[in-house]
Amino acid sequence: MPRLSDTMTEGAISAWHKKPGDTIEPGDVLVEIETDKATMEHEAYESGVLAEILVAEGENVAIGAPIARLDDGTDEPAPPKPSAKDDRPELGQEVPDTLPAATRQPDAKPERRAATPLVRKLARERGIDLATVTGSGPGGRIVRADLDDATRRAPSAPLATDHPPQATAVDGEAIPFDAVRQAIAARVTQSALTIPTFTATASADAEALLALRADLNAALDGTGTKISVNDLLVRAAALALREHPGVNASYSSEGRGQTLVHSRVNINVAIASPAGLMMPVVTDADQAAVSAIAARVRALAEKAAARKIQPADLTGGTFSLSNLGMYGIEHFTAIINPPQGAILAVGGVGREVRIVDGRPEERRRLRYTLTADHRIIDGALAARYLATLTELIHHPHRIVA
């Protein structure tokens, strides 16, 4: 089972494209694999004859487990099945990167947490994100004792003595998590349990923003491009991050703790897909034209709808934005996408009566809430960020300038 995403720990066979006896050439689509993120076609990288399928369609196995045997004609005996203790990938297979996806910095060198080889192996096996573990070894190195502590604290660890409240199926049905649901559950649990957050809400007059959007779409009429309020807000959020780099940052427990300030502004945009929540990335959102952002988000949404999101579409984000405005939500708070430092939750445009020049007037307004990791972002910084964002919404030409 190849590792097809950074957070993947197991995969399910969706469909075999070849059957035993078929001749395989490098590049042939061999199998479709469902991961926690998407269903992906996997190509053969060696030639031979498909000798045996070891994992049937619908079955789930851990990464590194053999899923089929390819006879390359050398007539060597089948390699022994790896024992549970030895799940290291075989030669030629993609070596699983022990760094969780989200700790990868999109720029410069990827952050490498000091951890012993044993810890890296166990973390891989237990599906623990090392970014969430505090190291107590020399220089903050993560050692097995730290991992054992983290495993005991993890909500997925079996709790022998105290029984957490369990939903009982008095009536109705139990729907087992699929891989995507499982990934979402693990991620939000990790976020909610490990990150001390606060929220700050601001609002802005949206008339100018909506007028600009109407102008832009009138000008783009017939080109096939259509700008949404969300596209404008992605760019606005990115420009505000450029002005407040402390918000475009991640927490790291390295040493006595670190704020990792990112040089690029890559925004994860929450998309509701049939498979569940997806957070694909708009890279360099501060430098992209709004029309480019619109095209990118649309392409990602179509991919998500078709369950074709690739791991590369999901990695490298430095900040997240979630918008429930289209559902008529006035205002909400979001959960941070770790190890990012903040997420912006955007509500819908609503009509309100405001006092303008001393007279009551009906205006359309927008509310948005920043959830921030207080370890690296203080209230004043969050407030300044929101003030900049409000200014941009009030003067929307700056968003497209």
Binding site: R88, G137, V143
Partner: protein
């Protein structure tokens, strides 16, 4: 079983083999009439006569070469080199001849020769008489090097070395000669190339050989009592062939290791063990492999300096504690 010294165990092994096989003979400086500087050959001239216990001049290259030739034509010489320091004079005979003849000449002749020689410092013999240069021989393909740490292993490995068809260097140790232990009365040759877990433990692996393997057992007992640390001791017993599997299996169990060696640190046996662990147990390591070795100086003569330069039990205890601290497992 008898409780005898390491010295006696070696003497017993030589005598047994001379009785068993008349091709076995001893050769070296002052091993006959004087019965050897360290009395390993005591009584053997009287019992077997000058044909089989041959005194030589001070000429290591000459008698090692003679023994190599004798071995090639079917005898089984056991060469005593008074201390390993003097083997340097015979280096060419050992490295370029004894170790290579079988491989270089298409297997036409084997060299079933034993070189037995003590290493070790701590006796105030000065820098040129106190070295631990077994590595020079363990480095050379074609050689076998064994390094027993107990009387029982001394006997078993000496028996095995004499019966082996390749040149085997048996590393003895000056400070082990008087140590006592239970030794089987019967002659059971040991297996060259097999390490032994001399103490089972779960917290940390201590790898050692020769004198330091005895030190390892000593500190394991102390640490169990003082710190509750459960040390596993791996006695290498053979430096070539090296039993990597036993070392790796132990580290997979304990997740950390300290190597004790009497030689110098840089390029030493410990470096080879650390590399072995890195190759074979990388994913099981929870702390870097530590080495405890001799200070990188010619060993001083003055007693306080000599003591300071040699690796001690206290040094080993410190390294074990610090390694366990690095894994955050020490209570």
């Amino acid at each position: 079983m008898s409780l005898i010294t390491y010295r006696q165990a070696l003497n017993d092994a030589l005598r047994s083999e001379m009785l068993r096989d008349e091709d076995v003979f001893l050769i070296g400086e002052e091993i006959g009439q004087f019965e050897g500087s360290y009395k390993i050959t005591a009584g053997l001239l009287a019992e077997f006569g000058p044909k089989r216990v041959r005194d030589t001049p001070i000429a290591e290259e000459g008698f090692t070469g003679a023994a190599t030739g004798a071995a090639m034509v079917g005898l089984r010489p056991v060469v005593e080199i008074m201390t390993i320091n003097f083997s340097l004079l015979a280096l060419d005979q050992i490295v370029n001849h004894a170790a290579k003849i079988y491989g270089m000449f298409g297997g036409q002749a084997r060299v079933p020769m034993v070189i037995r020689t003590p290493g070790g410092g701590g006796q105030q013999l000065g820098a040129t008489h106190s070295q631990n240069i077994e590595l020079f021989y363990a480095f050379v393909p074609g050689m076998k090097v064994v390094a027993p740490s107990s009387p029982a292993d001394a006997k078993a490995l000496m028996l095995a070395a004499i019966r082996d068809d390749d040149p085997v260097l048996v590393l003895e140790n000056l400070s082990l000669y008087n140590t006592k232990g239970e030794v089987p009365d019967e002659d059971v040759p040991g297996e060259i190339g097999r390490a032994k877990v001399t103490r089972e433990g779960s917290d940390i692996t201590v790898v050692a050989y020769s004198r330091m393997a005895a030190v390892a057992l000593e500190i394991a007992g102390k640490l169990a009592e003082s710190d509750g640390i459960d040390v596993e001791v791996v006695d290498l017993r053979s430096l070539r062939p090296l039993d990597r599997d036993t070392v790796i299996a132990s580290v997979k169990k304990t997740n950390c290791a300290v190597v004790l060696e009497d030689d110098w640190l840089t390029y030493g046996i410990g470096a080879e063990i650390a590399a072995t662990i890195s190759d074979g147990a990388f994913d099981w390591l929870d702390a870097p492999v530590r080495r405890v070795a001799m200070a990188e100086v010619p060993l001083p003569y003055a007693k306080p300096l000599e003591t300071a330069a040699l690796p001690s039990a206290d040094d080993a205890i410190t390294a074990v504690r610090e390694t366990l601290d690095a894994t955050a497992r020490r209570r």
